[in-house]
């Protein structure tokens, strides 16, 4: 546990310092961003739409229970989506798709000694592998969080129009009462923070991958679990911090 922490910190500081050193792999970074953002887009939008429907249904259930009418459902649901669900669901999906992918890829490179080969060639593996992914995940996380938040709110609006009978205008005026523009900014900050966590944790487990199929499987699993837990904890901390603004 402690040993993991030490080597993780070591790798992170290494990555940060090597960010200011050439060579910068711009093309590879954009390839990674394409993998992170564009190729995850459909799956995230799909999941988030369903999450929005559930949120609307459950909010209306609670409102009817507590205050006997559900006139505040739009604001309430939009608040929940923007503050929590949008960023967290996106991040957890990214963890499973991108994070596990990175861990498997890097782990495979480790077991097939490609990373040792990179070192032989005088290439810094952290700079070569981690930095483009870090860049891609931070920006991808931000973009995807924005898209997820707004698509989620939009689909919540559609569902509440069809299922609960709130017209879009009612939804928006209800939303305005609860939600502020800064909530979207906080959400994007959350997305970026989660984007930092995912590649670092995944690469960490990838680099420490033991040889063989079992090693790769273990590295992938560990990276998914650790990033998910870290994401939830960071979400807690950020939510707590944002209440002061």
């Amino acid at each position: 546990m402690f040993e993991h922490f030490v080597s993780f910190t070591e790798m992170t500081t290494h990555a940060i310092f090597s960010a200011f050193r050439p060579p910068v792999r711009i093309k590879e970074s954009f390839q990674q961003l394409y993998f992170v953002a564009n190729q995850s887009l459909i799956i995230i939008v799909f999941c988030v739409c369903f999450a929005a429907m559930v949120t609307i249904l459950e909010s209306s259930f609670h409102m009817r229970l507590v205050v006997q009418n559900d006139s505040m459902v739009p604001g309430f649901a939009a608040m929940l989506i923007l503050r929590e669900l949008g960023a967290v669901v996106t991040a957890l999906l990214l963890t499973s798709r991108v994070g596990a992918g990175i861990a498997a890829e890097v782990g495979l490179m480790q077991t097939t000694e490609q990373i040792d080969a990179l070192k032989m060639l005088g290439i810094d593996p952290v700079q070569y592998l981690v930095l483009p992914r870090l860049f891609a995940c931070i920006f991808g996380g931000m973009i995807l969080t924005i898209v997820a938040d707004l698509v989620c709110i939009y689909s919540a609006m559609l569902v509440s129009d069809m299922y609960l009978g709130f017209s879009p205008a009612m939804f928006i005026s209800g939303m305005r009462r609860f939600v502020h523009f800064k909530d979207l900014i906080f959400s994007v900050i959350k997305g970026a923070s989660f984007g930092v966590v995912i590649p670092l944790v995944s690469c960490h487990f990838g680099f420490r991958c033991k040889s063989g199929a079992e090693g790769v499987g273990l590295a992938t699993t560990n990276s998914v679990v650790t990033s998910s837990i870290v994401i939830i904890i960071i979400d807690f901390v950020l939510s707590y911090l944002f209440t002061h603004f």
Binding site: A104, G107, G217, I232, F236
Partner: protein, 254 residues
């Protein structure tokens, strides 16, 4: 698109295959309990932590809203109810998908690519009966327990944050839980847990069992498991919510 649909079909077929084996053949209960113990112990800490933090987060968010209403008294009931019915099962199931699901598919995948599964078949045993079925049942049962544990800890996290952050004493917090959390809510939560557990178990065993192509294949299987379970869980969440809502409306007559 076609790939997704055919994957879904294959998973369903695999599910019925497991059920068929379960019906026809006996299952060694010792193997099963071993698996249950293993899975539960492995994941208890992670799930508990996730549950705790989810409860804490929900309490923070609700406090912000309730303060504006001047109705902090409802905090306990509302936060608990939302956590039990929706956010808790969803996020904790996401955690389990990462922990239990990914682990099982990695384990089964490793067995597949290292040809241990073929070896079992050569010995005249049914690998589904020997390997998949105990894991399947163990995952369903222990996921159910783990989700329950997560929900309990989420209530605990809510109480703690209510006390520390929003200044609602735990007696007050607990006192309002029964006014809002009704039996249907708890049943909905448990029903969701059960559905998620089944979904998780069938997808991860299927992905692990059908792994191909060495270490790379194992990595890919884990990624596919994690993504597949999460997507299916989100859909299942919607379906169960809808079903629960319809039943509730029918029962209450509203």
């Amino acid at each position: 698109m076609m790939g997704v649909i055919s994957d879904a079909g294959k998973v369903v077929i695999f599910f019925f295959r497991i059920l068929g084996v379960w019906k026809r053949k006996s299952i060694s209960s010792q193997l099963m309990f071993e698996q249950i113990w293993k899975v539960t112990m492995q994941s208890a800490l992670t799930t508990g932590m996730a549950g705790f933090f989810v409860g804490a987060i929900m309490t923070i968010q609700f406090t912000m809203q309730m303060k504006d209403f001047g109705a902090l008294g409802y905090l306990g009931g509302l936060a608990t109810s939302t956590t039990i019915r929706e956010v808790g099962p969803l996020l904790i199931a996401f955690m389990l998908a990462g922990k239990v699901g990914a682990f099982t598919s990695a384990e089964l995948g490793t067995m597949r690519v290292t040809e241990q599964i073929d070896a079992i078949r050569c010995l005249g045993a049914d690998p589904i009966q020997e390997l998949v079925l105990p894991r399947f049942i163990a995952i369903v049962i222990s996921s159910f327990f783990l989700l329950g544990l997560g929900l309990l800890l989420s209530i605990f996290g809510g109480i703690l944050l209510g006390e520390v952050f929003s200044g609602v004493s735990f007696e007050e917090y607990l006192r309002h839980i029964p006014t809002i959390v009704s039996l249907p809510s708890i049943l909905t939560g448990l029903f969701k847990c059960f559905i998620f557990a089944v979904v998780l178990a069938v997808i991860c065993t299927y992905r692990g069992y059908t792994t191909t192509g060495g270490a790379k294949g194992v990595g890919l299987a884990v990624v596919k498991t994690a993504v597949g379970t999460m997507v299916t869980i989100v859909i299942a969440d919607w379906v169960t919510s809808l079903l629960a809502d319809i039943t509730l409306r029918a029962v209450l007559g509203t």
